[in-house]
Symmetry: D2
Subunit: 304 residues, 4 copies
């Protein structure tokens, strides 16, 4: 095996490193907010890296984005207005717009340069979504936008970068932020947020704290996970809502809803996959049950 | 972050490397059959590595071993005699012996030196199981043993090293071997084999071929997966049987069976975890449905 | 220390790896003869890599090229015609053309694509040398050229890629080749060849064999070494000649010859540096004294 | 090339990493003063690592220690009393005691545990020197010892760990310390200190500042370098003295002095090696000439 050549070092923790081979470097630079790398890799295809963390790759972005978007969208009986926080690649927008009921989407991503780079280098991620007349893209802090807007939404999707100590996104994972978000949800509305890694090794890093914090603000939380190959770990998401009826879709119901509600076929998400994602391994259920931290602006949680 | 120091390089593929920090090296040597490393690591605790591949670690061996053993044991109504192929650490034996119905276990592992090293360096893996009077440990090729023995078994558990091209274990993943194994199963018996990695990236490497091959020999196969942190990928297992009644245990039934049938509490496996493991993500179901390879002695399958 | 990001792996041996940080990848491709990478690095500036081996970098190419060219050029009383074998970057040509006595230079490098890439991405390496009317550049095998040409030369400079087993350059390090080369030297002519790494660790890999082989063909050989930072090892060169008078220049003489014979100032080579390079550490002198291998077409020497 | 297995990461800078293969880890722990690793490696044999930096290896320690000790010892006409600061491996002591004139040696190394570990795991480094009746070993801060002692010495040898910001050894590289040291030198005495790395890449990091600082305190300084394979860079030393006559030994004189003054043969140091080490490449001479920093307790210099 010949390992000579170019590699990307991803520091998973200070004791665990993943190296993956780089074919070529398509873009490398700094925006006003973060470092950006776009790499062509042999294992994952095109890879978007922000501040040294792999965000999405052409191999598996459909797993992440379908898992993020569709469960919460299907939980809502008729999502017409959708808010997306973050989501610079445009793939979350793409999945949202596949729902026939959707009339307008506000996507608020701080970093216009990342959006522009993704449109240029990762065009399949948005696949035309930015040109859909239902979509409005704003480059602003999502918290500031939600504080100021008069709009309210049926579904809110938080596709944010991780809460790193050296970044600013951690203010979008606090009780105060979730209160603001809830206030912009229409009656019967649902919210979902990406919630960090969720293996035996790292689920208490931020996942369980996010779940617990959401449970202080919303009357029902539904955490779930999916394995994303380029993250080399299961990844968590949490749905939260207050006014809707809790439901536990059977695989059959999910498989029935998809063609009824979506204008395209899905590549990953279906009924049995839904069951897989929502049936959590025991250590995650125990970690959530034992969690007592409430994440606040003064006591934020950081990912390693 | 200070990365100075000792690390273990695990080559996942020629394009993907995992590095994990080593505290100390407890043992490093060669047996008659394989290279053995036993490392104390910061992330995974004690780690057993055979021919450069992490086999099990003190952090997460209970996930792997409970997932391997209990579903097939519970599927059988009254497992009294059990065959284990491989399983050098003794942890599979430990889990099997926790079933109150078990009267005798034959564990056949080629490499007596690995068993001895595991008893010395990883005593928690076997936790006294080798001293249980119900257990008989033989150091012999599992295929040869099964060909020659007069014994038959209620449950057969294949806890083998991966089918690497440079090794010999690949002869324990072929149609011919599964025919021999089936012939040693008692009526109503069940068999389970570890089946390799099962992410989007690697599930067709050997997992789907193993499932398809087993389905040629047994009337029912039940593949399932579990994420093992030290493997950084979901890992697959396949249960196969012919004479028993197919059942799909509900979480409640699993949770009821565990205290009834086992003499100890489990750390990982329970009803909802069972549901998680057996509800396969769509790409695995599709990969299995499309698989046409039958693994034979002349056309073996190799893991990278 | 944050190690996240892009790195180049250089395999020095199968047990020793150098990693250096990559800012961006300027070119990555294959020519008819070799793999080429041109990287912008943080430590060494621009780096040219052929078949996975760093050839020269903007940080330190002047050390390598001044050390290769000037000692042999100054040893000759009046070098008018010069042959360069290899030297694709154009930096050897640049140094040769700085000698006022030089009237014509034939540079024979197999790989026209590498020359073109170097002119585009590493323009400082040639610094206009390719446009000098005294220079003639041919893309041909150096051995074939020397076998066929009617020309003869005052100085021959072999700036070749290393003799790797998987490459073809090893035929330019054999007794047969040196015989051909000697036959194309004018009376009083001198030849120099790059001779591989020369630390305690690796000097017998090919350096001592090259010196010994040259000593079978020429009546005098003068090995010397210089530390090249991007190679992380001292590097060897060997001057060989037959008809000239052996001389051992004092530092003062070297310092006097440089301004007299060259049309530019040098950055690295001077009198005391000359003394440093030609006074070999004891293990190199011993390694050379004990060497018995003669490199031939049938018994070539390979670098790891 | 199979890179699977155990490796040691040595961070040379934040942009340059050396990986070398580890066979086994003999010792890994913390003393009161530093982290200690003793590794069996494939490339360098046994390797002593303090605070993540390779200190000496069985492959090449003789290069480092002979280069450190003998030039300054031979410069003195009759060294009877010698002070060693640091030198925990005992190899500096071993070389000093090989001088027939030596009557007493005080070795002052802070860390008794390192000395003990070296005696156990690297017995060839001291090779019995600790049992020589002429040697006295004290475990104390070298600066404190020199401040308090009434003793004075013909030769002082500073074989110290590098001046790292996070360590304490940097106080042994300052003007104030050199003043203390000079006050403990007998008339005609000489001092030598290890002076850090000295390639084009890193010679101004601390080497040139140490030379310049010594030149403020002593009337003559003689810097020299030697390539140490396990450091992958030339390494510097500086001799300083005031009362002796400057001499520039010819290779012949060095070769004559060695058998006259030493009771054993040397493996590395001889007359031509001496010439090689003391003839500095041009960039080092220029770096020294341009250096203006004086290292003081308030303005210490740190190695990366």
């Amino acid at each position: 095996m010949d390992l000579q050549g170019k590699w990307f070092f991803e520091l998973i923790t200070s004791d665990l490193i993943l190296l993956y081979r780089v074919k070529s470097s398509l873009y490398s630079g700094k925006t006003d907010f973060q470092d950006v790398e776009i790499l062509e890799t042999t294992t994952f295809g095109r890879s978007l890296i922000l501040d040294g963390k792999t965000q999405s790759t052409s191999l598996d972005e459909h797993i992440y984005h379908e898992a993020l978007v569709h469960p919460t969208m299907l939980l809502h009986p008729n999502p017409r207005s959708v808010f997306i926080g973050g989501g610079g690649e445009g793939a979350t927008l793409r999945e949202v717009l596949a729902h026939k009921s959707v009339e307008r989407v506000a996507m608020v991503d701080l970093d216009s340069k990342v959006v522009e780079l993704c449109r240029q280098y990762l065009p399949d991620h948005s696949n035309g979504a930015f040109d859909d007349p239902r979509a409005k893209v704003l480059h602003q802090d999502a918290r500031q936008y939600l504080t100021q807007t008069q709009e309210s939404y049926d579904v809110m999707i938080l596709d944010l970068v991780d809460p790193l100590e050296e970044g600013t996104a951690y203010t979008l994972y606090t009780r105060e932020f979730y209160e603001i978000a809830r206030s912009r949800l229409k009656p019967g509305g649902t919210l979902v947020t990406q919630s960090g890694p969720a293996s035996l090794l790292n689920h208490t890093e931020c996942f369980t704290a996010i779940v617990h914090t959401l449970s202080e603000i919303f009357s029902r939380v539904c955490p779930y996970t999916v394995y994303v190959p380029s993250f080399v770990t299961p990844w968590a998401f949490t749905i939260a809502f207050t006014d809707s009826e809790p439901r536990d879709y059977s695989p059959k119901e999910v498989d029935g809803l998809i063609p009824q509600r979506l204008s395209k076929n899905l590549r990953f998400y279906d009924g049995i996959t839904h069951r897989h994602m929502f049936a959590l391994p025991s250590y995650l259920r125990e970690g959530i049950a034992q969690e007592r931290r409430v994440v606040t602006d003064n006591n934020p949680v950081f990912m390693v």
